[in-house]
Symmetry: C2
Subunit: 487 residues, 2 copies
């Protein structure tokens, strides 16, 4: 084909696609996938792989079931029954009676996995979500303010697409470090990423006074800030906001006229004793109607995180408070263009927001499975963070929530030079060698944003408990060799 | 809230969202949903609904299972087993042995519904799709050229986002009438819709000479046409392209340097005797390597249409021929930002492209279910089109494929005036009254594009066979009253 000049080339396609970055599935992950293929190929042929490890450990992404977390029995029974309702008759004993009842309830409401649902999600699912939010926050939520989407990522995409205009410089304030979904979508939609720093020295806390400073700087540059993104519990840092900080953030959004994006997909991933997740919606409401009604709030949630870890099902939603009906009409149109979110994701959402209740047949098993997962996540978070902290050259703040650690690592100057020579950021250089030598796949900190001259990586604490020791051991050995090599 | 000036308002949000239109789920469908709610509410309370019909008939959208089409047994068994693998042990007799074998095959390849798959879809699924395409077209397809997406809609979205640039006027040539996904996305991405007419008088055929004329006109206006969209079999017209026409289209794309978007989601929906679906990929390949290698071709397929009708599962893919590796790298990044398409949709895709083979336990039932659906669709297409054609004021071309009829209807001048007074297009005016009086929901032709002064609506022929007569009777009665009213 070399003699033929292609139509789609890097100089003819959308230039914003070229510059967008999404390191969670970037160069390091692609290399991990290649290495895994090599291992599988060798295994199939019964020959040595030639690699110094037997399997790839995907610590790059919060994908718990890939790392052996079991799905919750009740949820999967309901999904199976929704796909094959005749199983209720054929083998009722294979299912808990309340799983059957749940599937029947959905079927009776006209929900079928094979049909497009209403664009915003089926009415019953949105009603159940609204009741979950009402109970969680202690004040009512209207089902019409909820949009079910293919994962929370799609909800974020729609909301950014709604707010960003080409006609002016629209700024969206995002934390730094941040989950790269925001930076990549801002790049695609041509919005301005207005990064506010999280303070690593104070456990990655958010300093509200900084928000004002950053807003003023951006505004002085002609950027019209339209929204503020808060990830709580935080990805990648694991930090959880204090109540006071949340109140200040709300006051800031009202003062500066910013829509608040509350990315609360890790709301069940809270590990610190005495710390409890509180939604921005509840905090704003508790500040009184005068405050609440002035806050345009978009809250995101997902089945991918928490103790469910049902990533592949792509179930998520956004719930909007205090948005105008005419803006809802536009968002309805946007979700309609994709017809609807996938129905099985909606079923999983329904189970998440409406789990078995005390006294119901599945209740005890559900609670046991849930608590086992949460307790195990907590143990792994503590174990991995302590171990990483004990390594020379690493600093890792205490993990309060989410699924990640974001340790900083001191890299030798010669390694930094070698990275420069290789044309990659130093942390990518480090992470690539880590995966080559240990099979452990992490995401370089440069993919999230970090202070100039500091280096980090994001690592999930999702490997099974019996593997955590070997992960730590591998990192320790690798790091010692790396430092020795570039001394 | 009235005293508070909102942040998100129609004058502050993305203006392209305001102007985008998606009539398939527009005003008429929203009204149908309200009417259905009213019926359900009345039924729940055991009181008369006050409406002149007992149920809403959703003929607005190709959503077969909503209109009582049964899912294929094999596919749903595999889905249920993937959600709940322990059912293989618990109640093996409830499943066909090959459904169990299929689920095992996916599980053995590391496919789990609860995990994010590789961004482009799991390797085994893409391998199966590639083998299906290879067998269909008689020449090899590389799995790496395939991207699984949440429905084909999402694949179209990514491809348009990839090609459209804000830096210049990028034109995408689309049929008129067209499935409004294209117009709405072009509007959102700020591309130029360059409409080429289909010739209603000749059964909605595509006139290749027209393509050149339209291209020249657009080019003269400074529009840089970058792609041509062909929907074959066509939505909304039901037309199927001749081999000669496809060859001319391919030559046109090469001559004018256009990426060809082959929207082939209706490839199994072919009803005319002696007519067979042939993919653009096969036609281009049969024209010789010199032609084929110069064609940048994106082919779209979906589990939502055909005889599966698995709309809610949102399974689709795009397969790309002759695209540069660096463009593939960009598309990989785009799908990675959403992490992956939903896994159950990928399972359904896998069943679609790799159905039970002769001799396998599920083969006969699968073939019977498939043929029953296709034969029934064919009978309904013929019956509905003949009936509509027999009504005074209606003209409907012969349905060759897809799931729709697109009849033209003569509206009385007074009705056109009344519509103008009501501020809605005449065909919307007509369709709104139709749903109010009969419960039959169709999509006004203005949502697809139609020649000035002509009026159409799109109606699916998906209602169950025993309802087709009553649908026709209702339309006939409604139309007579409508004409009498505006005489």
């Amino acid at each position: 084909m070399s003699e033929y000049e292609h139509i789609a080339r890097t100089d003819t396609i959308n230039p914003r696609v070229l510059v967008a970055k999404y390191e969670v599935r970037g160069a390091v992950t692609l290399r991990a996938t290649e290495l895994e293929d090599q291992l599988m190929e060798a295994k199939k042929k019964g020959v040595p792989s030639g690699l110094p490890f037997d399997y790839v450990t995907y610590c790059n992404i919060g994908n718990p079931q890939k790392l052996k977390q079991k799905p919750l029995t009740f949820i999967r029974q309901v999904c199976a029954l929704m796909e094959c309702p005749e199983l209720m008759e054929k083998c009722p004993d294979a299912f808990a009676p309340d799983a059957i009842a749940r599937a029947k309830r959905l079927l009776d409401a006209g929900f079928l996995t094979g049909t497009y649902s209403f664009s915003k999600g089926h009415a019953l699912i949105r009603k159940d979500i609204a009741e979950f939010i009402t109970a969680r926050d202690g004040f009512p939520c209207d089902p019409d303010t909820i949009y079910c989407t293919d994962g929370a990522s799609m909800a974020v995409r729609h909301m950014l697409d709604l707010l960003i205009r080409q006609e002016e410089k629209i700024g969206i304030m995002t934390p730094s470090p941040q989950y790269p979904l925001y930076a990549s979508l801002l790049c695609l939609y041509n919005g301005c990423q207005v990064a506010y720093p999280l303070n690593e020295e104070a456990g990655w806390s958010l300093v509200p006074a900084e928000l004002d400073r950053i807003w003023e700087e951006a505004t002085a540059k002609g950027i019209n800030c339209r929204a503020l993104v808060i990830i709580n519990p935080n990805n990648p840092t694991g930090q959880i906001l204090s109540l006071e900080c949340m109140q200040e953030v709300i006051r800031f959004c009202i003062k500066r006229r910013l829509v608040l994006f509350a990315d609360e997909v890790y709301q069940e991933n809270v590990y610190e004793d005495g710390t409890k997740f509180v939604s921005f919606r509840k905090v704003a409401h508790d500040m009184g109607d005068d405050v609440f009604k002035r806050l345009e709030l978009a809250s995101f949630h997902s089945v991918s995180k928490g103790f469910l870890g049902e990533c592949g099902h792509r179930g998520g939603y956004v719930q909007l408070d205090n948005f105008l009906p005419e803006v809802h009409a536009m968002l309805y149109k946007m979700v309609s263009i994709g017809l609807c979110s996938n129905t099985v994701g909606q079923v999983v959402l329904d189970c998440m927001v409406n789990p078995p209740k005390p006294g119901e047949p599945s209740y005890e098993l559900y609670e046991k499975e849930k608590n086992d997962i949460i307790q195990s996540l907590k143990r792994r978070a503590v174990k991995l963070s302590q171990a990483i902290n004990s390594l020379e050259g690493f600093t890792c703040s205490k993990p309060s929530g989410s699924m990640y650690l974001f340790p900083s690592v001191v890299l030798p100057p010669k390694a930094i030079e070698a990275a420069k020579a290789a044309g990659v950021p130093p942390d990518t250089f480090y992470s690539l060698q880590l995966v080559e030598q240990t099979g452990i796949c992490v995401v370089p900190g440069s993919g999230f944003g970090q202070r100039e001259g500091t280096f980090h990586f994001r690592i999930t604490f999702l490997p099974p408990e019996d593997q955590i020791d070997s992960v730590v051991e591998s990192i320790k050995k690798f790091h010692a060799n790396f430092v020795a090599k570039y001394k």
